[in-house]
Amino acid sequence: MAEPAIDRSKMQISDEVAIQITNMDKWYGTFHVLRDINMTVNKGERIVICGPSGSGKSTLIRCINRLEEHQKGQIIVDGTELTSDLKNIDKVRSEVGMVFQHFNLFPHLTILENLTLAPIWVRKVPKREAEETAMYFLNKVKIPEQAHKFPGQLSGGQQQRVAIARSLCMKPRIMLFDEPTSALDPEMIKEVLDTMISLAEEGMTMLCVTHEMGFAQAVANRVIFMDQGQIVEQNEPREFFNNPQSERTKLFLSQILGH
């Protein structure tokens, strides 16, 4: 795959910590999904998390905005610790944007209403201003002409770009992507990845669960490989792909890059 030209001028990683996870464990009933996760994400980092299915990678990023509850250890997002305190959870959720595999747009609202809903009700932004922001981000993801349609009228790639714009309207400091291209037709994957790349170019802190290794090589500053609920290996992308250390990583890479 040809490397896209990327403007790296604003892709600075600061020393400031955005997410700090220490000794975190999670169980689904008796099943131990995440085991002793330790991870620090600095502001401006672009992290790709990969691994076989069932390895706990989605669960990990869903713990970061508390869509899943962890049972042991500590998660601190932007200085706020995630506990069962609803105030903290709401605070973290309004700072962290999330993009889902199946877009999860609200089908009963127009695209514009999808984008303005959270700013109006959570951030209490006046409707006019929220709509201006929404149009700004719709321009950014290159579909302003769809503003008054319903999600069902858009293609998968367009819906996913709307979903990204919806998250951005909340002006998040961190973006989580949970397999954003896995439900898309091949020709639509590129338009979504382009949107994500331009986001990275602006210095957004991103955690991305994906199988798009081209994207990982081009954009990520760190690749994390997970298996059986544990972080098995992490490295900068060039090293990770060319010189994997663990046997498990080698096998995984040979399977997904094999053909």
């Binding site: 905005n65 869509l67 709401d90 959720r93 309004s94 962290v96 999860n104 009700w121 959570v122 909340m170």
Partner: protein, 480 residues
């Protein structure tokens, strides 16, 4: 022969052949598609013919006027169609229609239920048509004209008519200019209807309304500190205390100070469709919000809320409505403070409401279960709190899915209002019909009152069903 081929011009679409269109094709496809289907068609045609030939003479010989008793009817039919002919005696409807409609409501006060019924549609307009200005103003206008005509028909042109004309003209204007303002009418309508129908001091409904003001004020004070659920429950408690202990004293005091009211009409004067509509409309409008809360309660993470909701729903659904009505008429008094004088209709309304709320809860729960989990997660991920997510994301979609089920419950409830005859209220189907048939003049009349009452029920229920189809169409945004 070469493989390469390039089309130089595109073919225009052509008419289908004659065998693919027209009535003959339709009949062949739908009525005579095979031997079995053909036999069924002929059989159905025969049965239909038998039915019509049986009922037609009876309908055709129907007597509408010039008869004041069953024997008059028979005489007229015999004179016109021969000694063995049968004929419907609609003259009974002409003479007794008012009992089917108003029960024993005093005739000089008929303008009150008529005006209330008209205003019901104005109050419903913003709920039924949301922001659709044209539909709302058209509804208000048409209902206004019908109401004024009915008022003139009921007691001639009097000051009530002038009042109604002014009222409906004003409301139609509001609907055309600022449709959202009509929501105020919707909120005030229950109290207005209460006062209009039963009459009495105006301070009764006003102080009842103040109970809701108490609820809102307490909620506003408590909610910011202890959360929405605590706020709502303390508010509700305070309002209940107000209604049970304070309201009577305060309304009596005001009545002594500023006496104003309408002639009091006791509940035993209510009957016919007036009664069916009072019970039906009140129960329908309260049971839906209650059903939604119960459905949410049943899906709640809080064990107590969940257990109570499940217990309530399962208990109510397991008990026949008639049992509940007997509870209303006999048992409910024992559970209330001794000095509260609780009207029978009010008690019936409460029990019927609880009954259909349980059914609505299950229908709404079905809608909630049909929503993909992603919708909840997306709402959570955007930082919406529970009630915001329910109101803005979940309920609009879940209720849309549940529309057919909810309307079925409503239709069922409206027809079930006839069961109140079991506790001595004069419902149109059994109560009034029995009274009419007990009259020596109309002895022996059988089909006519039931057809008349059934016809009105059909019109109302069919109307609800058509509205639900309109609503489903309007809310269709999934473009699948």
């Amino acid at each position: 022969m070469s493989l390469s081929y390039v089309r130089t011009e595109m073919l225009p679409p052509a008419e289908p052949p004659i065998s693919e269109r027209g009535a003959i094709r339709w009949m062949r496809a739908n009525l005579f598609s095979g031997p079995f289907n053909s036999i069924l068609t002929l059989l159905a045609a025969y049965v239909l013919y038998q039915l019509v030939s049986l009922a037609w003479p009876w309908l055709a010989n129907g007597v509408w006027s010039d008869a004041n008793s069953m024997s008059d009817c028979r005489a007229i039919v015999t004179a016109s169609a021969g000694p063995d002919a049968s004929g419907a005696c609609w003259a009974m409807i002409r003479e007794r229609w008012h009992q089917f409609i108003f029960g024993f409501y005093p005739p000089d006060l008929w303008w009150r239920p008529i005006l209330t019924f008209g205003l019901l549609f104005v109050a419903l307009a913003p709920v039924l048509y949301a922001d659709n200005k044209r539909a709302m103003s058209r509804l208000c206008g048409v209902v206004g004209i019908l109401t004024v005509l009915s008022l003139i028909g009921a007691d001639g042109f009097s000051y009530h008519t002038v009042l109604a004309i002014l009222l409906f003209a004003g409301l139609t204007a509001i609907a055309a200019i600022q449709p959202r303002r009509l929501l105020i009418v919707t909120l005030l309508f229950p109290f207005f209807a209460l006062w209009m129908l039963w009459g009495g001091s105006i301070w009764g409904p006003i102080t009842a309304l103040l109970g809701f003001v108490v609820l809102v004020v307490v909620y506003g004070l408590v909610a910011p500190k202890l959360g929405a659920v605590m706020g709502a429950s303390t508010g509700f408690l305070a309002a209940c205390l107000w209604w049970l202990f304070l309201q009577t004293y305060i309304s009596t005091a005001w009545q002594a100070l500023l006496p104003f009211g309408l002639t009091y009409v006791p509940s035993d004067k209510f009957g016919g469709f007036l009664l069916a509509f009072v019970i039906g409309v009140a129960s329908i409008s309260i049971s839906l919000p209650l059903g939604i809360l119960l459905a949410l309660g049943r899906r709640s993470d809080m064990l107590l809320v969940k257990t109570l909701s499940v217990g309530f729903i399962e208990f109510v659904r397991g008990v026949p409505l008639i049992t509940m009505l007997f509870v209303a008429s006999l048992l409910l008094q024992y559970f209330l403070p001794p000095q509260t004088k609780f009207d029978l209709i009010l008690r019936v309304v409460i029990l019927v409401t609880l009954f259909s709320a349980a059914y609505n809860a299950e229908v709404v729960r079905g809608g909630l279960a049909a929503l993909p989990r992603g919708q909840y997660e997306a709402a959570d991920a955007l930082g919406l709190d529970y009630w915001q997510a329910q109101r803005l994301i979940i309920m609009p979609q879940a209720l849309k899915i549940s529309i057919p089920g909810i309307v079925s419950t409503f239709i069922g409830l409206f027809k079930d209002t006839t069961l109140v005859s079991f506790v001595g209220l004069a419902d149109p189907l059994r109560g009034i019909t029995t009274i009419v048939r007990a009259d020596i003049n109309w002895k022996g009349i059988y089909w006519e009152p039931y057809i008349f009452v059934g016809g009105i029920f059909f019109i109302v229920c069919f109307g609800m069903s058509r509205y639900s189809m309109y609503l489903e169409n309007k809310l269709k945004t999934d473009h699948r």
